[in-house]
């Protein structure tokens, strides 16, 4: 095999392989600290916004327990009716429903990201974090590309199929080289994705260096993924949907106290099972 004949200078190990790894670890730790410095204190929610969200929780609890509800029928009905009317009238909304000149309800405009200062702030925070993630990565990548382009750094101790060639030998175009040889740029990528475990040991599990946004913030992933559950949801729509779900839940409602006398008597063998 062609790969067997390759001999790597130990200086490559000392001056390229280890420095790249070390620099990446240190940058990860530095990034963790920088993110902590940049992080603005969590914004407090107003009373109304909390109320809006807890109302949703309230309806979900009621709905999810409906199959073996701890509430007797009359109580369950009262709870459901109260919530359904409140939702349909928008009593829990933090911003009241606007009414047009004909008296029709206009659903509040889902506040545009660009006009709501609170949303802007959140977006700025996200962007700052992403910058802190991306800029060092780009600098390191440039550094590696500039100084160590085309270097072969390490030989993996196990054989791999040809499919890994593009992953392990990025930056060197040799069709014949054994897949086990790893190029400098690939070593960088392996470190980038592989160091998360180490950061978790060094910095604790909720550090900023390993965060789950890692993939999203990589320059290769599209960063257009919208935040799924931001503060900009249209609660009116959600509440209307909830009120329908609640009415469905009424159909599957069963009281845990229904037939309990038989269950208990059967349990203690007083009536045949």
């Amino acid at each position: 095999m062609a790969g067997e004949s390759l001999y790597l200078d130990p200086q490559i190990r000392d001056w390229v392989l280890f420095p790249i790894t070390l620099v990446m670890i240190l940058v990860g730790i530095l990034r963790n600290n920088v993110v902590q410095l940049l992080a603005s204190s969590p914004k407090k929610q107003s009373r109304k916004a909390t109320r809006e969200q807890r109302a949703l929780l309230r309806s979900q609890i009621l709905r999810n327990t409906a199959k073996a509800s701890p509430l007797p029928p009359s109580f369950f009905e009262a709870h459901t009716n109260e919530l359904v009317t409140a939702f349909q009238e928008g009593k829990y909304l933090s911003k009241p429903i606007e009414v047009d000149e004909n008296g029709n309800k206009i659903a509040p405009n889902p506040t545009s990201m660009l006009t709501d200062p609170a949303a802007m702030e959140g977006m700025m925070g996200n962007m700052k974090n992403q910058m802190v993630m991306m800029v060092p990565q780009m600098i390191i990548m440039g550094w590696i590309n500039f100084f160590f382009q085309g270097f072969v750094l390490i030989k993996l101790p196990f054989p791999l199929t040809l499919g890994f060639k593009s992953m392990l030998q990025r930056g060197i175009d040799t069709p014949d080289m054994d897949v086990r040889w790893v190029s400098s740029l690939s070593w960088y990528f392996l470190n980038w994705f592989g160091l998360n475990g180490l950061y978790r040991v060094l910095l604790g599990s909720d550090n900023a260096a390993t965060d789950k946004r890692d993939l999203a913030s990589s320059p290769f992933a599209t960063t257009g993924a919208a935040p799924a559950a931001g503060p900009n949801q249209d609660f009116n729509k959600i509440f209307i949907g909830e009120s329908e779900s609640l009415q469905i839940a009424e159909g599957i409602y069963k009281w845990a106290g229904e037939g309990i006398e038989e269950r208990i008597l059967r349990k203690y063998g007083k009536i045949p099972a």
Binding site: R47, T50, R54, I61, E261, L265, K267, Y268, K270
Partner: protein
């Protein structure tokens, strides 16, 4: 006894008491003072020293050792100026002096930050201490409307309603507690007993039974109390088959009621019998009397 206590042990026990929320203030202050008296006691606490001081402050206030509390709060205030937790502690210190002033203090805190949960809760508790039930109930309802998932809040509301004899209202508050913690037999028992007091016996018996079901095979504590409840309900329902039920709960069949009455008697007798011959379980005589007396009327 104090001589056998070591500092790490005392710290450990204090931590456990804090995690479990024990209200054993005398013991906490005793152990806390013991730690403080050691030369390097505070150093051994390390990072936990602030938690320790907070715990001490509350316990000291609870047993009226105001100077100790002042000392703790002062140290905390120096370390964490403007911390909401310290602000609430300072509020509790004011409560020890003057309740009206405390109300004003908490109101200013809430004006500054309307979502200060701790201050809001303290305000409600001060209102209750002052017996201002109207405002207390309206504040608490507003609090629960905002922070629905606060289980203690619902229990407190139920307790307040029960204290002013509004048992149906109390039941409604408890129903929210049941929704939030459907697995907790204590709440089920509480609901059952409140229903019993509100004279909704058909509802009560189902919840007493539900409590025993939730407790599994255990027949101590909550479950035993629930069996007493079942016994009382079956007796009442056999004597008055058309007991009113505000919740429109369907009455049970007479045969089930009889069987349940027998079962409850059996469970209670088992609970009050001991396996050894000589030892008599305390209260056995009274229970036998109760069961026997009602047994004939069945």
């Amino acid at each position: 006894m104090a001589s056998s206590l070591t500092v790490p042990q005392a710290i450990q026990e204090l931590k456990i008491a804090q995690a479990r929320g024990h209200r054993d203030s005398n013991e906490i202050v005793r152990k806390g003072l013991f730690v403080l008296e050691q030369k390097n006691g505070l150093k051994m606490l390390g990072e936990d020293v602030w938690d320790f001081l907070e715990q001490m402050a509350v316990a000291a206030l609870d047993i009226g050792q105001l100077e100790l509390a002042d000392d703790c709060i002062q140290r905390l205030a120096e370390q964490f100026p403007k911390s909401p937790r310290v602000e609430v502690l300072q509020g509790q210190r004011i409560e020890a002096k003057d309740l009206d002033m405390a109300i004003k203090y908490y109101e200013t805190l809430l004006d500054a930050d309307e979502t200060n949960v701790a201050a809001w809760k303290r305000l409600i508790s001060v209102l209750r201490q002052q017996n201002k039930m109207d405002r207390c109930i309206s504040e608490l309802t507003e609090f629960l409307d905002t922070f629905y998932s606060d289980l203690e809040g619902w229990l407190e509301l139920a307790d307040i309603y029960a204290s002013v004899n509004l048992y149906t209202r109390s039941l409604q508050a408890l129903s929210h507690a049941l929704l939030l913690a459907p697995q907790n037999p204590f709440h089920t028992l509480h609901f059952a007993e409140t229903a019993y007091t509100a004279n909704d016996i058909p509802l009560a018996i189902r919840y007493f039974l539900r409590t025993t079901e939730l407790c599994g095979d255990d027949s101590r504590g909550v479950a035993r109390r629930a069996w007493f409840g079942v016994r009382l309900c079956t007796k009442h329902l056999t004597l008055h088959p058309d007991s009113p039920s505000e919740s429109a709960t369907k009455p049970m069949s007479t045969s089930s009621l009889n069987a349940l009455g027998e079962l409850a008697t059996e469970r209670l007798l088992a609970a009050y019998s001991s396996t050894s011959e000589k030892a008599v379980v305390p209260g056995r005589k009274e229970v036998l009397k109760l069961l026997g007396g009602s047994g004939t009327s069945r």
